[in-house]
């Protein structure tokens, strides 16, 4: 996408708003136990914050914030966090994805609660990385030039 001259208002506003979007996204992820929200929504909002910076400041500047080559390893790492949580439960004697057997703390119910938090972090990382990756691919790979 060819860009015209840099508009100072657009760049200033997007740089100011983006950290607040990220903060609200982290609130949505970690407060998903008590309020609507969770991994998918929070991850998509994180991706929206990154894409806002990418749209307004251009590709070269935003590489300092989030490199394009990090996207695929981070997405795989998110799925591996999810899978590994289930696998740890398998190692400690339960079924696959049976979080009650993971010895975090105390009782079975609290173990399940912390297990839900772990897999939501995995979902959020994977969704964030994949959304940014799709944006980069659409912008970069033009078949003509």
């Amino acid at each position: 996408m060819e860009r015209k001259k840099d508009n100072p208002i657009v760049s200033l506003v997007s740089r100011t708003v983006s950290p607040f979007i990220m903060l609200f996204a982290l609130y949505v992820i970690f407060h998903g136990h008590y309020s609507p929200g969770g991994g998918f929504q929070g991850g998509t909002m994180l991706a929206a914050a990154f894409i806002l910076i990418r749209l307004s400041l251009g590709m070269e500047t935003s590489q300092l914030q989030f490199k394009s080559s990090w996207a695929t390893p981070l997405g795989s790492a998110g799925v591996l966090i999810y899978f590994g949580t289930g696998l740890v439960a398998l190692l400690f004697g339960g079924n696959f994805l049976d979080y009650g057997f993971i010895p975090f703390t105390g009782t079975v119910a609290e173990n399940r609660s912390i297990g839900i938090l772990c897999i939501e972090i995995g979902v959020a990382i994977a969704v964030m990385a994949i959304m940014v990756s799709i944006y980069d691919d659409l912008l970069k790979g033009s078949p003509d030039d």
């Binding site: 695929t72 399940r112 994949i130 799709i134 659409l138």
Partner: protein, 105 residues
């Protein structure tokens, strides 16, 4: 040809409205799905979740418990679908140029 399109649209929407008239009301306590026991006198899944979600996992939000705990396999599959979509976009769309101007995948 356009008249046929509009006719098909009107007939289809009339059919959908007629079909939706026999659905139960939203939040109807006496509908079959919302009762405590199903028709075969076994416990419904929804009432089981409502009674036991807080007890099983110490989490207030019932939707999170259903998505991540009771239906963990589904969320794992959804995760894998998203990762596969991203990887396919990566393989199909990303074409980078070499230093001598040649395209490479």
């Amino acid at each position: 040809m356009k008249i046929v399109n509009y006719l098909i649209m009107i007939i289809f929407s009339a059919l959908m409205i007629y079909a939706s008239l026999s659905l139960p009301d939203r939040g109807d306590a006496y509908a079959v799905l919302n009762k405590e026991k199903s028709l075969a006198q076994t416990q419904n899944a929804a009432s089981y979740y409502i009674h036991n979600a807080k007890k099983d996992a110490e989490t207030e939000n019932m939707v999170t418990v259903i998505l991540a705990d009771y239906r963990g396999y589904d969320t794992l599959g959804e995760e894998t679908v998203i990762l596969t979509a991203g990887l396919i976009c990566f393989l199909l769309l990303r074409i980078e140029k070499n230093k001598n101007g040649k395209k490479k995948r």
